[in-house]
């Protein structure tokens, strides 16, 4: 079990010694037991950092925000920024470095292992606690230690964990500067891509009916895109409204912007948006599962990204976020790439 104090000490040290300019981590929010992202710059704030089963967020997103803020201010930092990273988050950081979004030396990775557990799903926890209110939930090996008003309860982590954690192939941040917790990469809770396989067993008609239902519910809040560290484009190609303009942009350029989809949150436009996003994430999505967690209308977005990931793995031997120097999936090829479908 990880002692959160060691994470706090690491953060405090780095800031006090002036080795990093900030630490991105998790703090307790104002919504009961849920953690929320925080960026601290003062060593004294280090004691606010937390680490538990509600640390859902992929903090690599804030590395992107930081990079954008620096670019906007035209500043080059003289110190790296530190970040608390789970296995999935660390892979996201690798992808960003692979794409030259920032250099390895710009980021100090404080890795934390999920060991035998992972982040929880609130409704699964609520079901098991039968109405009792949880005050905190900490990973201890393969168990979740939940504190309620009536006392402590130990639950098997696998019954409360998110699907993305159950299927996770690497609950340990391979890329790190320092790491806390055991490497339990071989823990194999549920076979990877299980949810995807279950879905693909449906007939074509059932699959279409399923996605119709999902995409009719989509309200185009773009939370899925906003929470994804890899969706860092300032101009999202499907959202013609976000194309940034500068004083030099001519009226003709503005008038001729291609509008790929309409603003209307209707099925056809929603499907185009989500499929385009899945394609743009092919080989880049490391399955942190945040897109699915934040969706207010419960669209199982992971299925789309997992499909791309599995095809990449099985047919192109490709693993996203595996190595900083690796090639990108869609900008590389092998002689034996499948081509039988081409007439």
């Amino acid at each position: 079990m990880i002692d959160v104090q060691s994470i706090r000490d690491a953060a405090r040290d780095l800031l006090a010694k002036g080795e990093v300019r900030a630490v991105i981590g998790y703090q307790r929010g104002s919504r009961g037991m849920l953690a929320e992202p925080v960026t601290i710059t003062d060593p004294e704030q280090a004691d606010e950092l937390v680490w538990d089963a509600t640390c859902f967020h992929n903090l690599a997103l804030y590395l992107v925000e930081d990079r954008k803020a620096l670019a906007h201010a035209q500043r080059t930092p003289n110190l790296p920024i530190a970040i608390v990273a789970k296995g999935c988050d660390a892979r996201a950081i690798v992808v960003l470095m692979q794409e030259h979004y920032f250099k390895r030396e710009d980021v100090y990775i404080i890795g934390v292992s999920c060991e035998g557990g992972g982040v929880l799903v609130e409704y699964k926890l609520a079901r098991l606690l039968n109405g009792a209110q949880a005050l905190s939930a900490v990973i201890d090996g393969a168990e979740l230690v939940v504190t309620t008003l009536a006392g402590e309860v130990r639950l098997p982590a696998s019954e409360v964990m998110a699907d993305r954690c159950l299927e996770c192939r690497e609950p340990f941040p391979k890329e790190h500067n320092v790491v806390f917790g055991e490497d339990q990469t071989s823990r194999q809770l549920v076979a990877p891509f299980t949810a995807l396989a279950r879905f693909e067993a449906l007939s074509e008609a059932d699959r279409w009916a399923y996605w119709c239902r999902q995409f009719e519910r989509c309200i185009r809040c773009f939370a899925c895109r906003s929470v994804c560290p890899m969706c860092y484009c300032d101009e999202c190609v499907v959202d013609s409204i976000t194309f940034p303009v500068a004083p030099e942009t001519t009226a003709e350029e503005k008038a001729n912007r291609i509008r790929w989809i309409e603003r209307s949150a209707v099925r056809s436009e929603n499907i185009t948006y989500h499929m385009t996003r899945a394609m743009h994430l092919a080989g880049r999505c490391i399955d942190c599962g945040e897109c699915e967690r934040v969706c207010p209308v419960n669209i199982p977005l992971r299925l789309l990204n997992n499909k791309m990931e599995r095809e990449a793995r099985e047919h192109f031997g490709y693993e996203p976020g595996a190595s900083i120097g690796g090639p990108s999936l869609v900008a590389s090829f092998r002689d034996d790439d499948p081509g039988q479908f081409i007439r």
Binding site: E200, E204, A205, D206, R207, W208, A209, Y210, W211, V237, V238, W260, I261, E262, V266, R267, S268, E269, I271, T272, M275, T276, A278, M279, H280, A282, L303, L304, K307, M308, E311, A312, H315, F316, L329, V330, A331, S332, F333, D337, P338, G339, F341, I342, R343
Partner: protein, 144 residues
């Protein structure tokens, strides 16, 4: 087939690479090869330059079938473009199928500048395969 079904003419949007497939379709024309007129050709510099958005947009605007065609492997004018297309298009094809779009609505071919007859055959086969599927309305936008 009912009269209505017989009268139905699928609309195909064909993205053809300029150097090979578009030239191949031209050759079919100057050779006076008879083939169905259902495909609207759009010339692109290279099959590798085709973005998944082109395909999704074509379906969104009401295409009943989308065809992509480029140079044969090893013959790409830009050396590697068609290798990249092979990979990307494989992915979009898998995604379309997973979502429940009929696999027969989307296809890819390698057609060289000398293969006018092949281009005609590809379109002929595509039209024949699309007719029984009827109009595409899964991804088509409802513009009312």
């Amino acid at each position: 087939m009912s009269e209505e079904e017989q009268a139905y003419e699928p609309k195909i949007v064909a993205f053809l690479c300029k150097w090979c497939s578009s030239a191949g379709s031209d050759l079919a024309g100057v050779s006076r090869i008879q083939y169905p007129a259902n495909a609207t050709p759009i010339t692109v510099p290279c099959s590798g330059s085709i973005s998944p958005l082109y395909i999704l947009s074509a379906f969104n605007k009401g295409a009943d079938g989308v065809l992509l065609s480029g140079c044969h492997i090893g013959d790409c004018h830009y050396i590697e473009g068609n290798y990249l297309a092979r990979r990307k298009i494989y992915l979009i094809k898998e995604l379309l199928e997973m979502v429940g779009v009929e696999p027969d609505r989307f296809r890819m071919s390698w057609v060289s500048a000398a293969e006018g007859a092949k281009y005609a055959q590809v379109v002929k086969d595509f039209v024949a395969d699309l007719k029984p599927l009827g109009p595409q309305n899964k991804l088509k936008a409802d513009r009312t």
